[in-house]
Amino acid sequence: MFRATLKSLLARKVRLILSGLAVVLGVMFVSGAFVLTDTLGRSFDSIFADAYSDVDVNVAAKPKVQVNEMEGEQTAAALPAAVVDRVTQVPGVASATGVVAADGARIIGSNGKVVTSFGPPQLGENWTGEGELLRLREGRAPQAEDEIVINKALATAAKVQVGQKVGVLTAFESKKRDFTLVGVVGYSGDRDSIGGANEVFFTTPVAQRLMLGEPDVFSNITVRAAGGVSDETLRDDVSGALGADFEVKTGEQLAADAAGGLKEGLSFFNKILLGFAAVALLVGTFLILNTFSIIVAQRTRELALMRAIGASGRQIIGSVVLEAIAVGLIASVLGLAAGIGVGALLAFLFGKFAGGLTLAGIGVPAAAVIGAFAVGLVITVVAALLPALRASRIPPIAAMQDVATPDRPLTKVTVAGSLVTGVGAVLLFLGLSGNAGGQTLSTILGGVLFAFIGVALLTPLISRPVVSLLGAIFSWSVPGKLGRLNSGRNPRRTAITAAALMVGIALVTGVTVILDSAKGSISALAQDTIKAELVIAGVQGGPRPPSFDPGVLDQAKALPGVQLVDGEYGDMAKIDGESTWVAASSDPASLRQIFGAKPTAGDIDRIGPTQMLASSDTATSRGWSVGSTVTVQLTRGEARTYTVSGIYESSQLTNPVTLPPAAAKNFAIPQPIQGFIQLAPGTRVSDVQPQVEALLADSPEVSVADRDAFIKQQTSSLDGLLTMIQILLALAIVIAVLGIINTLALSVLERTRELGLLRAIGLRRSQTMGMITVEAVVISVFGALLGVVVGTGLGAAVVEALKDEGITDLILPWGQMGVFLGLAAVIGVVAAVLPAVRAARINVLGAIAHD
């Protein structure tokens, strides 16, 4: 008896470990996310504290257009050189230096390709001498117009040496210009870069012309305080002297602001990671619920005995919940430890990827610890509550009977499931149809959650017909048939196990349906509408899109067989105070001839120097009509007034606002970022493409491709997104696999006697394993099938809701779905390995000899 107790305890320990593992993985995700973002956040802090360590006070012009981290890079307006003199005269100023520093200085490496930074800026600056931070490692400062100095990390990446000629693309010139590399700089602490940023130093006039586009202007002025003057006092004095048009900040403030922008992005990233953690934990909840239900069912006799000798229902609940708390606590501690490890690893990888980001020490923020314990404990206890309640309802008489717990009817659970699914559907409908007020996202997420729980509750009912149908595939063999019957034996258990897998597969399928539909719709539209045979574009490797020399447009126009050439420019502008994406085309005729725009009012074939065109959606939402006048503030230059002269029908391919070609010179990137070339009828693409290619020799960021390749390239970013989501959701699927292993291991344990009998009447070991495997495969394929169906439903609902956004085609990824089902079969086989081996090893005599 003692041995039996010990054995069952041990067996239970294994089971608790398995379900605890689900919590560990979920908690790991949560605390890992916090550790990662905290570590990166502090690393950014120290980078910017370093970068501005030579600055006491900084003066900059107010940016003309405020851009947040999600929309792109902020470009400050240029300061006239005269401001430097005004600052110098402020009492307490020891020195004031005019600085040019703007993103967009791109070095062409020895392999002929542009060196990208994957995130950190590529600064083009004027040389203002060495400081505490910056030191020449080799060579000398730039003195002539065609000389540059670059930082060590950039020199290494580009594989260039002092004395060599180096091609550089600048903010105002996307045509390659050759410079002589005369020096290489490093930073204090023997660093080769500050946070992965690339820096190119020119002489001041060259930097002003190429990076700011006009002579005698600066990006900002760095001020050093005279002895005894505090940074804050100096800031206030300078600010008072210059007036309200300037932003005057201390170096510390500047560092905090710069890091703050990046941290905003990090917190968004953190939220995404936490979202995936939530999915993993939802799946884990199913697993824990199942484990505790089974444990309670197995201990029916023991619990009834406790009731019989006087334990109250409350005490029974207490004992189950206590067990859950123990599991939750241990899992949280392990999960936290694993999370710190994973967070540190990811931070390290991020640092490597982002060009040698120097990491601050790994920190464990309070949020990671609190999150870990809150999530781990709450999830475990909540999941154990229902089984605990059931345990408390066991009548004392059960101790005296050989209870074969009768199959409880599924009516209640089915009614509950229908209700919850209904609530989910209503929430989804409200959210997707835009009737949820300001709570659209949370309404949709709530709807998805309710739908999942509802379907999980309905699963026992669905499982009966579906499982027997699925199992029919295997029924040709005796072990297969037995396996099939076993999987239909306890519909609740099968259902919860399958539902756990359903969640992960449904989300992956849903996302795939949405992204594939988006991709398909955009491709189809582009294919139908864009009437350009050749497209000039590049792959974006950092915050700044690739651009090319506008001269190429005219040269391409002159090629034989070319009918129309369009260079596309874009900028985030402020129109009547509101941020709006504006575009300009080198040839406004392309709007109709290449992009098939249809006029709804006015004339869209030409744009006068003070006229602009708007899309119908933008015109409606802003209340514009032909003849309206609006004020447009671009990144550079003064605000200008334009008159709306035409309105075109909105589509996925039209810009909200189109400005005259001349406006492009005041865009943040005053070069074309895409070029469309329409050929004369009868001209062969292969004749023109090499000639355009040759024109682009000095614009190495872009290349020319035919239209189909361009469309593919443009939609390929969606593929990357899909892969990332799939990887993150893989965790939920791994947890579901743990659930299948758990359920099977338990079934094997419960059916020891039966397995013994089967072996006694001649079932071979391999057949026994086959039987268990079939059971696993049936459960997992059932889960995947549910997931594919539910996911397709969710995806289709979202696509339907996005119809107005241009996602018109519902594309079902049949191939992917097939892969998921196949994968589920593999998952089943893998999950069955351990339980099957255990079943095959059952001692026949021990199993059937009466107790």
């Binding site: 037995l482 019957l485 034996r489 009447i761 001649g762 079932l763 059937i848 009466h850």
Partner: protein, 255 residues
């Protein structure tokens, strides 16, 4: 008749100087001490003895469910001792049938499926005439589509008997087959077992501690302390009970 004689000369199951020792040293338990016995073809043999006498161990060893420490066991012409798992599985599949005290039916299968299970596992088709005979004899014709949970204990045990019979094994081992049944159902099952021996020449070895059950057998072998101590041919409940009483007081047996 000569054929029958010839068959009887060859035992369906045989134990030859079988020892079974559990544990070692202080904790050593000798369950069987050099047991030699033959179980003739076409006869119904009961193995009796007080609990702890080793009767179940003997049956488990004979059926190849447990290994022997010393000696050999054979079923028909197959030597069981020394067979690996695959060999034992094949032996159980082809030559041995089991009836357990706990019925041991698969709850997911109907009565008919349970009966045919050993044949389907072996991938054999039932002999339709024999199948009908078996169903006829167990009297379950109208219950074939029921699941075990819908059958009474007696009916379940008859299904188990039919399962053992339908593959016509060399020998059927029955372990306390009436232990979980009321006396009327028990009598039904025992009658049925005896008939299958008398009418169809089946060999059955049954372990029991119930003298009434043992009285259905053609021969009773008595075990005490791991040794065969006595034997009765054509037993009655009274003679079995008498022998048992003697076994309960080992001193008398010793004398």
């Amino acid at each position: 008749m000569t054929a029958t004689v010839g068959q009887q000369a060859q035992a369906a199951a045989r134990a030859n100087d079988v020892w079974k020792v559990y544990g070692s040293g202080e904790a050593q338990v000798i369950a069987l001490r050099g047991v030699s016995a033959e179980f003739e073809r076409g006869r119904f043999t009961a193995i009796m003895g007080p609990s702890g006498s080793g009767k179940s161990t003997l049956m488990h060893c004979l059926a190849g469910l447990d290994s022997v420490t010393r000696g050999t066991v054979s079923i028909g012409e197959t030597t069981v001792t020394g067979l690996g798992d695959a060999g034992l599985t094949k032996l159980r599949r082809d030559k041995v049938g089991f009836i357990f005290q706990q019925f041991n039916l698969l709850p997911t299968l109907t009565a008919k499926e349970n009966i045919l299970l050993p044949l389907s596992i072996a991938g054999r088709k039932p002999d339709p005439a024999w199948y009908d005979t078996v169903i006829e004899t167990v009297g379950l014709k109208d219950r074939l589509d029921h699941r075990p949970a819908q059958l009474s204990g007696g009916q379940q045990q008859r299904v188990a008997c039919a399962r053992a019979l339908v593959s016509r094994p060399e020998v059927i081992f029955a372990d306390e087959p009436t232990g979980n049944l009321d006396s009327r159902s028990g009598a039904e099952v025992l009658n049925f077992l005896r008939n299958s021996v008398r009418e169809h020449g089946q060999t059955i070895v049954m372990v029991t501690h119930d003298p009434t059950a043992a009285a259905y057998a053609d021969r009773v072998v008595f075990l005490a302390d791991g040794e065969i101590v006595s034997e009765l041919i054509e037993p009655t409940a009274e003679t079995v009970l008498d022998t048992m009483k003697k076994l309960d007081t080992p001193a008398e047996v010793g004398n």
